[in-house]
């Protein structure tokens, strides 16, 4: 019983670590633009499809090269979404931007199925050996990679936001948009770069998820958007440390709910938790704290 609990906790933390960069990218876009990007996951999915296509055409390519392709394609797809859905609605209606990003989500899914028409597409596996066994607990090597990546992404993002001129511009725009604009910061350019950064983070996370499963489907886009949304929401809107915490909580809740209640009720438990939290609206969820 105790071993099961510990194993579930470990699995949950590993899953949470793979959600964390996804949530960070989503929270970054929401924190800076104040717009929900439904096409966030599908853009990442398209990046992974580009890598799968390259893997099929040129089997000699290593994991590093494929990761670079996935990242680059995700950034390109993200830039496409930003130009079409968010740049035109920067001052206008948030709902119009959301509907436009919904339309692009359908478009990106269609592009993916046109690229590789089969429903499930093989993806190079990250690691083919046995999982590690430590004191009776099982830990997949992929989980270690996910945790390391999540930590690296957090550190890198913190360095960019708090140690670079670009990061200063982003924080200035969030804190005081008008003052930032008057002191020579160009919002359109910063928003575009934020989008590219978020897509790059998401592309890395998506590549890891796809390589861990060794396959991808077009449904991955919706899945990524949902995980990003749920984790961001659990941690408090627009807060970056909150997004990471939310991702870990999401992973833990899912792992335990799956063990005790089964896979069907797992998602139900997550939605119930989220709905009750939002309905009760604790203070940390109600006051968005951009950081």
């Amino acid at each position: 019983m105790l071993a099961d609990l510990l194993q579930n906790t470990l699995d949950g933390l590993a899953a949470g670590a793979s959600y964390a960069p996804v949530a960070l990218g989503f929270a970054l876009i929401f924190g800076v633009l104040r717009r929900a990007n439904l096409s966030y996951g599908p853009a990442i999915m398209l990046g992974c499809y580009a890598a799968a296509l390259a893997h099929g055409r040129f089997p000699g390519l290593g994991l590093g090269a494929l990761a670079a392709i996935a990242l680059l394609a995700a950034v390109l797809a993200g830039a496409y979404v930003e130009r079409l859905c968010f740049a035109p609605h920067r001052r206008g209606s948030a709902v119009a931007a959301m509907v436009a990003s919904f339309a692009l989500w359908m478009q990106l899914e269609e592009i993916a199925t046109l690229m590789l028409p089969r429903h499930v597409v093989a993806f190079p596996a990250l690691y083919e050996g046995e999982p590690l066994a430590i004191a009776g607990l099982v830990l997949r090597v992929e989980a270690l990679a996910a945790i390391a990546t999540a930590a690296a992404v957090c550190a890198l993002l913190a360095a960019i936001l708090y140690r670079s001129r670009f990061g200063l511009a982003v924080r200035a725009l969030v804190a005081a948009p008008l003052a930032a604009e008057l002191s020579g910061i160009r919002p359109a350019r910063v928003f575009f770069l934020v989008f590219a950064l978020a897509s790059a983070i998401g592309g890395t996370a998506g590549f890891l998820v796809a390589a861990t499963d060794a396959q991808i489907t077009p449904m991955m886009g919706l899945w990524l958007t949902f995980k990003g949304l749920l984790a961001t929401m659990l941690g408090g809107l627009g807060s970056l440390p909150g997004a990471v915490a939310g991702a870990l909580v999401l992973g833990l809740v899912e792992a335990h709910a799956q063990w005790f209640l089964g896979p069907q009720l797992r998602d139900f438990v997550v939605y119930l938790l989220l709905f009750s939290l939002l309905a009760a609206a604790p203070r940390w969820m109600r006051t968005p704290s951009p950081s």
């Binding site: 035109p88 119009a96 509907v99 919904f102 478009q107 949304l229 939605y271 709905f275 309905a279």
Partner: protein
């Protein structure tokens, strides 16, 4: 000819779905729970006509009431949050309801087959219309009777004090509250009316397709429900109707010839519409 009648039925049901989101959007709230009320109306009324062998009209009334009750129950807690948080709260509710129906079994034997909802396989044999000899044309008229009734009701709301209050809340909550508008009453009542409309739409949908399953009520359907009034514009109920005709009639059916490329153009046209007319296709300044 039946193909066109089928398309007109679909446009009618989707117009009702869009109108259920329209009245909620008037108060400035984006709800992704409309697909859940649609599902509740569909399952409740389907079970009444199939398992309890009711006539369609009382089943439709109960389906609408069930949608309204669910919307009212969600309205109170959900309306404590705004903006994206409301979107997610309603999304969580909608997905929760969908997963509930994914696991919901209630079958009874009828003759030599078993009927009723069966989890992931869905709810088959909702055959009230064929069993009672209704033709596709009759069903189409029946659906459009409700479309016309609901449109007339919402059109009348827009010309009444209630409609003015709805729009006032949508424009500026604080200003509306400061002139004595009861925000909770307005928002929850709009949500309840929207839930009733979605419940009726669900009942009509279940009976004309004869087969429903959890996937018919997923987040895609919920997003379409809010996309119709936003694409069409919130100025009048006709915007929603026009948007449904544009999307279902032109983009989905008209472009079917394009095959796989359809969704690409579909996405591009919606984005174009939103960029050229962010307030909706039929928005007129100062009207």
């Amino acid at each position: 000819m039946d193909f066109y009648f089928g398309l007109i039925q679909l446009i009618g049901v989707h117009t009702l779905l869009g109108l259920s989101a329209y009245i909620v959007l008037l108060t400035g709230q984006v709800s992704l729970a409309q697909a859940a009320f649609y599902a509740i109306g569909a399952y409740v009324s389907g079970m009444l006509t199939v398992l309890a062998e009711w006539h369609i009209v009382p089943a439709l009334a109960v389906g609408g009431l069930a949608g309204a009750a669910a919307a009212c129950a969600v309205g109170f807690p959900a309306l404590r949050v705004k903006g994206l948080m409301l979107v997610i709260a309603t999304l969580a509710f909608g997905e929760g309801v969908r997963i509930f129906f994914f696991n919901f079994d209630y079958q009874i034997a009828k003759g030599d087959i078993k009927v009723g909802p069966l989890g992931g396989e869905g709810f088959r044999q909702i055959r009230f219309f064929p069993e009672n000899g209704w033709t596709t044309f009759d069903v189409m008229l029946f659906i459009w009777l409700f479309v016309v009734l609901v449109m007339a009701l919402l059109w009348w709301f827009d010309r009444s004090r209630y409609g003015a209050v709805l729009r006032a809340v949508g424009e500026d909550e604080v200003a509306a509250q400061s002139v004595g508008v009861n925000l909770t009453a307005v928002k929850v009542s709009a949500m309840t009316v929207g839930g009733a409309i979605a419940g009726i739409a669900g009942c009509l949908y279940a009976h004309y397709t004869t087969h429903i399953e959890h996937a018919s009520f997923n987040v895609l359907v919920a997003t379409f429900a809010i996309a119709y009034p936003i694409v069409g514009g919130l100025q009048s109920v006709f915007g929603t109707l026009a948007a449904v005709v544009f999307v279902q009639g032109f983009l989905v059916e008209g472009l079917r010839e394009l095959g796989d490329w359809r969704n690409l153009l579909f996405g591009a046209l919606i984005v174009l519409a939103m960029n050229l007319r962010p307030q909706g296709l039929f928005w007129r300044r100062g009207a």
